[in-house]
Each structure stands twice: as structure tokens, then as C-alpha cells.
């Protein structure tokens, strides 16, 4: 068992426009990427639970060529709205760090 933070080279979040937040996990090599992807630990239900969104709001796209997994969810609030706390969306990745990936 390993935590995602120990396997990923990049774990980042960013706006994809003013309404969406996109979370990228990138891995150093194909073996690590495959291990994480094939584990099934990064799934719609897990992301929905972690971020308190519904299943149908989560998009997960594996991107083989860059050994990356892209997750996109709605922002908590529109960028710049009174309830928004992260205009660029750059600090919304932390809940991903502790996802456990089986050996």
C-alpha cells in the first residue's frame, strides 16, 4: 500500500475556466502510472466522496502519453464569487494526497 503523494511526480489543481476545477496527477514512469491507473483507486465515486460532488459531475481522463490522470470537477463557487476561496483554483489538490494505492 502506498499513498498517491508518494507515487506521483505532480499533483496539482487549477481552474479550467471560471466554473471548473481540474486536478492533474502525473507520474515519472509508465510502470507507476499503470500501477495507479490499474488499481482503480482513482474512480468517480472516490473523487465524488472526497470533494463532496455528485458522481455525474466528475470526469476522469487517463492520458497515457504523459503518464497522467486528469480529473475535473465543478468549482465550489465561481472564480471570484463571494464564496470563492481560491481564485486560480491552485490549492484544491490536497485531498488527493492520501488516496491509498494497493501494491
Amino acid at each position: 500500500m502506498a499513498r498517491l503523494v508518494d507515487l506521483a511526480q505532480v499533483l496539482r489543481s487549477k481552474n479550467a475556466g471560471a466554473l471548473l476545477c481540474t486536478l492533474d496527477m502525473m507520474f515519472e514512469d509508465e510502470a507507476t502510472y499503470r500501477r495507479v491507473l490499474d488499481s482503480g483507486a482513482i474512480n468517480v465515486q472516490r473523487i465524488a466522496d472526497l470533494y463532496g460532488v455528485s458522481d455525474n459531475e466528475v470526469s476522469i481522463i487517463p492520458y497515457d502519453v504523459a503518464y497522467a490522470i486528469k480529473v475535473t470537477i465543478p468549482r465550489l463557487a465561481r472564480s471570484g464569487d463571494p464564496a470563492d476561496s481560491d481564485i486560480y483554483g491552485a490549492q484544491q489538490h490536497a485531498p488527493l494526497l492520501d488516496i491509498e494505492i494497493p501494491d
Binding site: K14, N15, A16, G17, A18, L19, L20, T22, D24, M26, L50, Y51, G52, E57, S59, I61, Y63, V65, A66, Y67, A68, K70, T72, P74, L76, R78, S79, G80, D81, P82, A83, S85, D86, I87, Y88, Q91, Q92, A94, P95
Partner: protein, 454 residues
């Protein structure tokens, strides 16, 4: 087909680039040089106010080198999304800098200034025709939304750039434009493959973002041929790696495989990335699927009130342990005090965030109990006028400083306030209320061009 070369100086006009990379790039004889000038990442305020989010000095420095070199080598210089949001006042700001550069350097050239602000009547007409649709999780655009908006821009494609160049412009200062249109306009005019053109444009629009080592913005060169393109950094100490280039389509997009432009979609599912040498990456196989409809993105903001901000620290462990209940009681107290002044809760928004606890992620924060020995309280008030905003903040400050809580021993004050004055009025704020697409019959019509002999 002969090679065509382009240089992106910086991912954001005003974020800078090194002169070393720029000179080295120029020596490779690019067919044009360009820079993106905008982003909505800094939020709705800058579009609302019509001001840039970089300094005038930084913008002038970046633009002056480009214009001088463009005139000297007789190649076009393109800037898109000028001034940050690409609205009329932001475009005028950059135009004025370009004119100042021309005066100071004794240069003369033909300049196109392309507008991107959209008249309310035009958007309403398009709503009536059923040509406006949400772009993501937002409701349909209504006429009321449009009336309520303060400023709306449309995101142009390549056509206005191409028209400006056909009409003889050497320098183009364009309003809001898709980042990739800035770099795609000229190669598409010359007949290069749209899949390769759009993909290269998408990669180099962020300039130094695709190079390594990472720190700082810098120039990037793209070279197109009939069946591939090459990307390399301008700076001799930097490299483009296969992974960095492949990863770039992930950045700020919901999908790395499909990137939507006004007249179609760049598809990278079959793109191949190859490291040619330690600094250069070759890409092939990218496709562009043309759409039968021409749609531009609309970005618009409305006024959301005058903001006042206050920040303070809490070091008392009893208060930290009970901070949630304490803040709740402060909200109640402020509401009561404001009612005494005849100001109801509907007249303002009072937002108290606790840094060290959940201010960054709000309800999405998985850690519910802070382990911090000190926390930061950030208070902000929004109200329809500045006086009300300041009045609510004055009460909120007093309430936070002096409201009792269970076990309280620090009875002379609950906060460490770092500044005097403590309350910071920041003026009008804005919120995005238009984030939609609009279908056009003519890609040029909503983007009028002024031709100016500088």
C-alpha cells in the same frame, strides 16, 4: 511546403522574458513574433474595471522589444487578449503603450486594433435566435443577465487577425482572443495543416511554461512543416522535453485530447511526441475536426458590491478550540448591531474565513479540526455602497475583538490586529455572470478593426 517559424516571447505580456532568449530566437528568423496578453485566471475584477493585472512598466518593456524587432526584421507582431481581459479600455491601454514606444523609438508602422467587447443588444439578439448556450455548469443566459452585466467580451478566433494582416497591419493589438488563435492565424493563411497549426499554437501560447528548468517566463520557438512541428526554447540553457510538451494539453483544460476552438476541435488522440535532441521535441499526427457552426466564448461580469477586508491573528488556544461557535456568535452580534442602524442582513454579505482551519477549501476541507497553534481570521464585507461596507466591517471588527466565549481569559481582546488602519476598503468587486458560447454567422462582425498609421 517550406518551413515556417514563430516565436512566442512570453506566456503573458508583462510577465517578462530574457533578452538572451529573444535575440537567439530572432537569429533563427521567425516569420512572426507574438504574445498572449490575457487570462481570466486572476478573476473577474480586472475585466470589470478594465485594467491590466501586470504593471504598465513590465508590459511596455515586453512590447517594446517585440515591436522594435518586428519593424527591424519586417515581420508581424501580434498580441492577443490585450491588457488582460481584452476589453475596450484594456486594449486602449496597450494601444497607447504601443504608440508611446513608436514615438520614443522613432518607429512608424501600420497597426490594427481589434475590439472584442460585445454590445448588450447584440447578445440579446443572439439569445433570441437561440444561438447562446452555457459553457459548463451555469444556467442559460437571459436578457436580464445581459442587462445586469457590466462588461462582456467575445473571444475571437483567427479571422480578425487575418483580416488585419490582409489589410496591411504589421502590429496587431487584439482584444479577447483564444490563446491559440494568436499563433494559428498566420500559418493557417499560408495553408499549413490545421491540426498541426492549432496544436503548435496551443503548446507555445504559454511560452516558457513548456520548458525546463521551469523558473520564469521565456521565449519559445515553433517550427511548422507539412507533416510535423518542432518546439524548442529560445534560451540556450533551457530544454523542451517530450513529457513536458505532451503534458501541456492537460494544462487548464478539462480534456487533454479535445481542445475546442471557434471553428472546430483540436484532437490529440493520435499525436506522437518525439525527442529530437536534448532541447527539441517533434510532434506529428494531431488532427483538427472542423465544426459546421462557428461559436465564440462570451465572458462577462456584473458588479457584486463594495468590499472591505480585515485580517487578524488568534493565538489564544481556548478561542482556537471553539472558533466555529465563536464566529457564529459574532455573525449574530453583527446582525443585531446593524439592525440597530437600520441595515438588514439582505443589504450586505459578511464572510469570516479562518486560515489554519478551512479557509482554502471551505466545505470541501477533509480535515475538520485544526492542529494549528495560531489561526488567521480574514473578514470581508460586500455591500451595495462603500459606507455600508465599512460600517458592517467596523461592527464585525468590534464583535470579533470583544465578544465573549466560554472559558475566555483574554478579556482585553481576542485578536492580534497587524495594521492600523485595520479595515481595508478595496472598492467595487465583480463576479462572472456570463460564461457562455455564442454562435456567429460572420466571425468578423463582432470584432471591429481600427487601422492606424502610427
Amino acid at each position: 511546403m517550406p518551413e515556417m517559424r514563430m516565436m512566442a516571447t512570453t506566456g503573458m505580456l508583462g510577465y517578462g522574458y530574457t533578452e538572451e532568449a529573444f535575440r537567439r530566437g530572432l537569429a533563427q528568423k521567425p516569420d512572426f513574433i507574438a504574445a498572449d496578453g490575457g487570462s481570466m485566471d486572476p478573476g473577474p475584477y480586472y475585466l470589470g474595471e478594465g485594467i491590466p493585472f501586470v504593471s504598465r512598466k513590465a508590459m511596455k518593456r515586453d512590447l517594446a522589444l517585440m515591436i522594435e524587432a518586428g519593424i527591424e526584421h519586417n515581420i508581424p507582431v501580434l498580441v492577443g487578449s490585450a491588457g488582460g481581459g481584452g476589453s475596450d479600455p484594456q486594449v486602449a491601454f496597450v494601444r497607447e503603450i504601443a504608440e508611446e514606444i513608436a514615438r520614443e523609438k522613432g518607429l512608424s508602422f501600420r497597426m490594427a486594433v481589434i475590439h472584442a467587447e460585445q454590445p448588450k443588444d447584440f447578445i440579446k439578439q443572439k439569445i433570441g435566435e437561440g444561438k447562446v448556450a452555457p459553457l459548463g455548469p451555469i444556467a442559460d443566459l437571459t436578457e436580464e443577465d445581459v442587462d445586469e452585466s457590466h462588461r462582456v467580451v467575445g473571444m475571437m478566433g483567427v479571422e480578425p487577425f487575418q483580416k488585419a494582416l490582409e489589410d496591411g497591419a504589421q502590429v496587431v493589438i487584439a482584444g479577447r482572443a483564444t490563446d491559440a488563435s494568436i499563433y494559428s492565424a498566420i500559418p493557417l493563411m499560408r495553408g499549413y495543416d490545421p491540426g498541426l497549426v492549432w496544436h503548435l499554437a496551443k503548446i507555445i501560447e504559454c511560452a516558457g511554461q513548456v520548458t525546463t528548468p521551469r523558473p520564469g517566463q521565456d521565449c519559445v520557438l515553433g517550427t511548422l512543416t507539412d507533416d510535423h512541428f518542432l518546439v524548442e526554447p529560445g534560451h540556450p540553457d533551457k530544454r523542451c522535453t517530450r513529457m513536458r510538451i505532451a503534458a501541456h494539453t492537460l494544462y487548464e483544460n478539462p480534456s487533454p485530447y479535445h481542445l475546442v476552438e471557434p471553428d472546430g476541435t483540436l484532437v490529440t488522440t493520435e499525436s506522437e511526441y518525439e525527442q529530437v535532441d536534448p532541447r527539441v521535441v517533434r510532434v506529428r499526427g494531431s488532427r483538427f475536426e472542423a465544426s459546421n457552426r462557428y461559436t465564440v466564448k462570451l465572458e462577462g461580469v456584473k458588479e457584486t458590491g463594495y468590499r472591505t477586508v480585515f485580517i487578524a491573528g488568534v493565538r489564544d488556544p481556548v478561542l482556537i478550540a471553539g472558533i466555529d461557535g465563536f464566529i457564529e456568535s459574532c455573525h449574530e452580534r453583527v446582525a443585531g448591531e446593524m439592525a440597530n442602524l437600520g441595515i438588514g442582513r439582505e443589504s450586505y454579505t459578511l464572510n469570516i474565513r479562518v486560515y489554519g482551519k478551512d479557509a482554502t477549501m471551505g466545505v470541501r476541507e477533509p480535515v475538520r479540526r485544526t492542529a494549528a497553534h495560531e489561526i488567521g481570521v480574514l473578514v470581508d464585507v460586500l455591500a451595495d455602497d462603500e459606507d455600508t461596507s465599512k460600517a458592517v466591517m467596523a461592527k464585525a471588527r468590534y464583535a470579533l475583538l470583544h465578544t465573549d466565549f466560554p472559558g475566555r481569559k483574554c478579556i482585553s481582546g481576542n485578536l492580534a490586529i497587524p495594521f492600523s488602519p485595520s479595515d481595508m476598503p478595496v472598492g467595487m468587486t465583480y463576479g462572472f455572470n456570463v460564461w457562455h458560447t455564442m454562435e456567429l454567422d460572420d466571425p468578423l462582425a463582432p470584432f471591429p478593426i481600427d487601422m492606424i498609421d502610427v
